[in-house]
Symmetry: none
Subunit: 222 residues, 4 copies
Amino acid sequence: MSQATPSRRPTRRELLTGLRRQEILAAAIHVFGKKGFAATCVGDVAREAKLAKGTVYLYFDSKEEIYAAAVRAAVDRLHALAAARLEGVEGLRQRLSVAITVRMEFWYQQLNLYRLLLTVGREAQHKRQTHELMRAGHAFYRSILQAGRDTGEIAAGVDLDTLAWAILDMVRGCNERRMDRLTRRTPQQDAEAVTGFVLQQLDLPGSAVAAQPALQSPGAHA
Amino acid sequence: MSQATPSRRPTRRELLTGLRRQEILAAAIHVFGKKGFAATCVGDVAREAKLAKGTVYLYFDSKEEIYAAAVRAAVDRLHALAAARLEGVEGLRQRLSVAITVRMEFWYQQLNLYRLLLTVGREAQHKRQTHELMRAGHAFYRSILQAGRDTGEIAAGVDLDTLAWAILDMVRGCNERRMDRLTRRTPQQDAEAVTGFVLQQLDLPGSAVAAQPALQSPGAHA
Amino acid sequence: MSQATPSRRPTRRELLTGLRRQEILAAAIHVFGKKGFAATCVGDVAREAKLAKGTVYLYFDSKEEIYAAAVRAAVDRLHALAAARLEGVEGLRQRLSVAITVRMEFWYQQLNLYRLLLTVGREAQHKRQTHELMRAGHAFYRSILQAGRDTGEIAAGVDLDTLAWAILDMVRGCNERRMDRLTRRTPQQDAEAVTGFVLQQLDLPGSAVAAQPALQSPGAHA
Amino acid sequence: MSQATPSRRPTRRELLTGLRRQEILAAAIHVFGKKGFAATCVGDVAREAKLAKGTVYLYFDSKEEIYAAAVRAAVDRLHALAAARLEGVEGLRQRLSVAITVRMEFWYQQLNLYRLLLTVGREAQHKRQTHELMRAGHAFYRSILQAGRDTGEIAAGVDLDTLAWAILDMVRGCNERRMDRLTRRTPQQDAEAVTGFVLQQLDLPGSAVAAQPALQSPGAHA
DNA sequence: TATGAATGAGTTTTCATTCAT
DNA sequence: AATGAATGAAAACTCATTCAT
C-alpha cells in the first residue's frame, strides 16, 4: 500500500528494518499513552520493546521523531481506511454517516496515540504536523459535503466550511470523552448522533442512516 | 485544601498573601504561555514576578500547584463572568447566544492559559481538574437548554445532554482554531455561527440574535 | 591586582562567588591533571571540590569553560610574576636569564595545568587561546631582545624574531621533559643552559649569569 | 605482540592482512586528522576505508591500537627516510643540515598524524610510545653530534646531550607553528635557521650548508 | 518574610565493542 | 573473512526543591 521511497522490491534488510520500526513504534505508543510523553524516557520505550536503549536510536533519531513517526503512520492508516470504507458508498446521507463513523472507530482503536495527539501535538515543534492533520480532517468532510452540493442534495445557502469544522469538532469531542471515560456511548452511537445533527442542519432530517432519530433521547419517540 | 472559606474578615496577612499569589499566578501564566509549561523553570516564573525562587515556594507547594491554581482562578472568573452576563437576559435565543459568546470571548482574553489547558491539562495528574472544567461547561449549557424546555421553547424529543456536549465541542474547536491562528474569524462571528447551529437543531431558526442566518455563507440570503 | 569588571568594592557576594570559583578551579586542575581532561567527568571535579555536580554548573557553564578559565587565570599570574621579577633588573644578560628562569619555574609549579595546555589546548576549540599564549611568550622574549638591540648590546644582523621563537621552544621543551620526568635537571639548571645558548648566539659568551659556561657539560671547565 | 619477525616468507594471507591494515591506517589517519581522535568514531574510519565497522575490529583490537599502529608505522618510515637521506652524506655541517631538514619535511607531509601526536600522544596511555619517539629523536641528533666529536669537528667542552635536545625542541617548535599556520616559512627555511643556530653553538659559523648566514635577517649581509 | 546557593536525581544521546549470520 | 544490528556503560547538563542565613 505504501512503498514510500524505494519503488521496487524492498531488500530483505529494509523489510527487517521496517518491522523493527513498527515494533518500536508500537511499544512507544503503548508507554507514551500509559505514562505520558514527557514522563516517559527512551529507556522505557526500549524496555517495552525488549531492546537496549541504544538500539532505539538506531531506528529513530530522537524521542520526538518517534512521536512524529507514530502520528504519521496512524494518519496514513486512517486515510487509507476512510477511503476503503467510502468505496462504493453512494448518497450524501450514507457517505456522511460512514465518514463520521470511520473517524470515531479509528481513534477508538488508537486511544493511546490519540492521547499523544492531544498533548504532544500541541507543543510548538509539532504544531505543523497537528495542523496538517486537522486541515486534512476538515477537507475530508468538506469534500463529502461539496459532493452533496454538486448533486443538489445540499441547498446553496449552507456554509459548508463552517459545517465541516463543526463536524470535526463534534467528532473530536466525542472521541475525547470516550478516551477520558466521560461517556459510555459507543463510537457507533456517537456517530449516529453527530450524523443526525448534520442532517438537521441540512434540512434533511427524516432518516438518518439507520433510520433512528438522532438527537432524540433513546427512550423518546418521535 | 487550606481554609476554603475563611468565613469572616480575612486577616491583613491573608490579604497580602492573596495579593502575592495573584502576582505570581499572573507571572506564571505569562511565561508558561510563552515558553510552555515544561520548558519554563520556576526561576523564570520568579524572575517574571521579580521575586527570588525560594519565595515562590512560600506561596505554592510546587510548580504543578501553580498551574492548578491558575486554572482554578480562571475558572472562577469565567463562572462569575458568565453569571454576570446572563443576569437579566431573558429568552432562550438570547441566553444561548450570550452563553456561547461569553466562553468564546473569555478564553480569547486568556490565550496563554488556554494553551496550558490544552497541554498540561491533558496530563494524568491534572485529569481530574480538567474533567471538572469540562463537566461544568456541559452543565452550564445543559441548564440553559433545560430552562428552555421548562418554558416549552424546546420540544420534548431533543436530547439536551448530547446537544450541550456538541455546543461545548464547537466552542472549544473555534477557540482552538483561533489560538492556533487557523481562522481569522472573531469570537463574535464564531459565536453567532454556533448559536445558529443550535437554533437550527431546535427547529427555532428564523432569527439568531443578530438576525443573521447562522451557518449560511455571509453573502447568501435566507 | 585584577578587579576585572566591577571597578570598585566587590560585594560580599561577589567575593564569595570568586572564592568558590577559585576552589573549583583548583579542584579541576588537580583532577584534570591526574586523569586527563577527557577522562575526567564533571562529577569528578565536583567530588574533588566537595560540592554537588549541579553546584559546579552554577559557577561555570561547561567543562570546557572550566579549562579556559583555569588557563586564563594561570596566564594572568604568569605575566604578573614575570613583570615583578624583571622589575629593576638591568642588563641584557640578567634580564634574559630572569625571563627564562621565570617561565621555567612558573610552569614547574603548575605541572598539572601545563599538561592540560599540551593536550586540551591543542583541540580546535581552544586553539585561539593557546596561540595567544604562545604569541605572548614570543613577544615577551622578543621585547627583551629588542631592548638589547636598542642599547647596542645585540648586533644588527641577528634575527630577533627567530631567536625569540627558539627560546620559547627550548623553554617549552625543558618544561615538558621535566613534566614527563624525562630529565632530572632543575628549572634553574635548564634556565642556565638555555640562557647560555642564547648568549652564544648573540656572540656574548664569556659570562652567563652564574658565570658558568652554558651548554658545557657540568664537569667541563672553560 | 603478534609475530614480530615472521622470519621468512610471509604467507599470502599475511600479505593481504598487511595490506588491509595499511588501508585502514591510511583511512584512520585521514579522518582522525580531520575531526580529531575523540570526535571520530570507529564507524567513520570504517566508512572512509569502505569497510564495515566489524571488519576494522578484525585487524585492530581497539581504536587506541589504531592510533598506536599509525604512529609506529610513521616512525618506521621516518627512520628509514632519515637513514636513506644521510646515506653517503659526509661532514658534520652537511649531516646536521640533512638531519634537521628531513624531520621538518617528513612531518610536514604528515600533518594529520603530527596533530594526533600532539594530542592523543599526550594522553597517559600513550606516554610510553611518545617518549620513545622523543628519545629516538634525541638519540638521532646526539649520534650525529657524537660523530662530529669523534672526528674532532666538535670541541670537547660542548654538552652534546643538551644540544641534541635543543635541536629537537626547535625542530618541534617550527613544525608546530607550521601546523598551526603561525608561520609562513617553508620547512627548508626553518631547517636552515635551526642548522645555523647549531653551528653557531659549535663555533662553526661561517657557512651553513647553503652558505646563507642563518639567524641573519634576510636583507643583512655577513 | 525573603533570598538564592546548593543539591542530586534524572534525561537524552553517543559510541566502542561484540557476535550471530 | 565480512557484516552491521545490538548492546549498555558513561557523560554532560538541567531544574524542582530545600534550607541556612
